[in-house]
């Protein structure tokens, strides 16, 4: 493992260097400022698996540094260190995760050797995936149109299971771009372009068609799953959307009630009447409507008030690690309580370890999705995964009643 230490205090740097050597980590570089770290990272190879960052630095402080790091799309693990109190560390960690940085641990100074070891233990070796901003391929509208037309956009599926008995209930379709030169490209790298280019409808259509084809095949093999497809709020303004969805489902031979549209809101809703018209007709046709990433961005109580959702998806940022965070616990409990009273099905995203699972189950959340259950996988892998899960996987998690 290769580690970069960023701390302006020479004594703290020496301590960390000594601790890392005690942990048998040999490849260590030390710098005294955020600026120095960024210029080291910009040189590229060899890439770092983890950065240990002191948040209190003169010049560029830790928060500014993380902003630059996010812009460079640093993919390694971050260990955040501060002499400040736990609240501040937690806020910064939250901020870092929101910017899609991977926080492996937050440590209060002075750092116990054991805690440092644990934090670094949580860092998978990401070095090969450290992608610098300028080395990243960018795509244009033409690339994207071609990708849609030639079927380079493929769906991966992440299972959702019922918490009470572990039954496999559904999957969320997650689009990936199988790029002929660049390999698998993730949505965060092309969805903004989709939206700018006005290709949201095409993309949503392609993803839905793929998901329905997969659902048909699974049903053929005796596995009846609900399929959830992500749809931007913009798509919901198309008055013919309900017919399109119902026709596509009918053509594929999948009941409309097995389709869930997950709605993410990225801007303030403009035309409420029209939205309500489309959403209500979808529900009349028994298509499910889920409010995605609930609690983040514009996915809010106002949406819940105005749109007839029947499913609420808890964002990962409220789920993972909640059992050891009193603030998250309070938010989770209140949200699940509210969802129950509104008669909404609840799905927790980001269930990544046993603690997350037990915590959500104790709060009577309906369904769980996350790495603990399964990572997203190609359609062909679902049947095998499902019989594996039934045979042994879920026994780990579901207590006999």
């Amino acid at each position: 493992m290769r580690v970069l230490v960023i701390d302006d205090d020479p004594f703290a740097r020496s301590l960390l260097a000594r601790q890392l050597s005690e942990l048998a980590i040999q490849e260590v570089e030390l710098v005294d400022s955020g600026e120095a770290a960024l210029s080291r990272l910009a040189r590229g190879m060899p890439a770092f698996d983890a950065l240990i960052v002191d948040l209190n630095m003169p010049g560029m402080d830790g928060v500014q540094f993380l902003r630059h790091l996010a812009r460079q799309r640093f993919r390694g693990g971050l260990v955040l260190v501060s002499g400040e109190d736990a609240d501040i560390l937690r806020s910064v960690a939250k901020l870092a995760s929101a910017r899609r940085l991977r926080v492996a641990g937050t440590l209060h100074k002075p750092i116990a050797l054991e805690s440092l070891g644990q934090a670094l233990g949580a860092v998978p070796t990401f070095a090969e995936s450290t992608v610098m901003g300028d080395m990243r391929r960018t795509y244009d509208e033409q690339d994207l149109r071609k990708a849609i037309a030639t079927g380079q956009l493929v769906n991966f599926y992440q299972p959702q299971v019922r918490m009470i008995d572990g039954a496999v209930a559904g999957v969320e379709a997650l689009v990936r771009w199988q790029h002929p030169d660049d390999g698998l490209v993730f949505p965060s790298d092309f969805i903004p372009l989709v939206e700018q280019s006005g290709l949201s409808d095409e993309l949503a259509g392609a993803v839905l068609a793929g998901a329905l084809r997969a659902a048909r095949q699974w049903r053929g093999a005796g596995l009846e799953l609900r399929v959830s497809v992500n749809v931007a709020m913009d798509n919901l303004f198309a008055l013919d959307l309900p017919e399109k969805v119902v026709n596509a489902a009918a053509e594929a031979g999948v009941p409309a009630e097995c389709v869930v549209l997950e709605i993410t809101e990225s801007q303030v809703t403009r035309d409420l009447d029209r939205l309500l018209d489309v959403a209500t007709r979808l529900r009349l046709k028994r298509v499910g409507l889920a409010i995605d990433d609930f609690g983040t961005g514009y996915s809010s109580l106002a949406q819940l008030r105005d749109v007839p959702f029947d499913e609420l998806k808890l964002d990962r940022s409220f789920v993972h690690g909640a059992s050891s965070n009193p603030q998250l616990q309070a938010i989770l409990r209140a949200t699940l309580d509210m969802a129950r009273q509104l008669g909404l099905r609840t799905v927790a995203e980001g269930v990544e370890d046993r603690e997350d699972w037990d915590n959500l189950r104790d709060m009577a959340c309906d369904f769980a999705q996350g790495y603990l259950i399964a990572r997203p996988m190609p359609a062909e892998a679902i049947l095998n995964w499902s019989s594996d899960w039934r045979a042994k996987g879920h026994q780990r998690l579901v207590k006999p009643q």
């Binding site: 004594f11 703290a12 209190n56 002075p110 050797l113």
Partner: protein, 113 residues
Amino acid sequence: MDASVLRKIIGDDEASVREFLALFRQTAQRQRAEMHAACARGEGHQSAAVAHKLKSSARSIGAQALAEFCVEIESAVTAGNLALLREHLVAFDVEWQREKLAIDAYLGDGDGG
């Protein structure tokens, strides 16, 4: 100071423990001078920034009382009270002399400046 605190941080190797205590003594000595100089220039924030670092270092060698004086220095500056800062710096000095003697005694040299 409390060497057992430092051992929890860097491990049990006695040579390293001694090395870090000596490094702390040297660093703290310099930082103490920096805090006084900054205070004399009326740059309270500079004193507080140094105190912040020294606070963590002091905790890492188990010099809790010294760390608490650093906290006081930081909060005097946050409160914008330079007179109070000067007072805390004096109190810090007294505690520092005590800690330095303890480190000198542990290292058995007493030549830390």
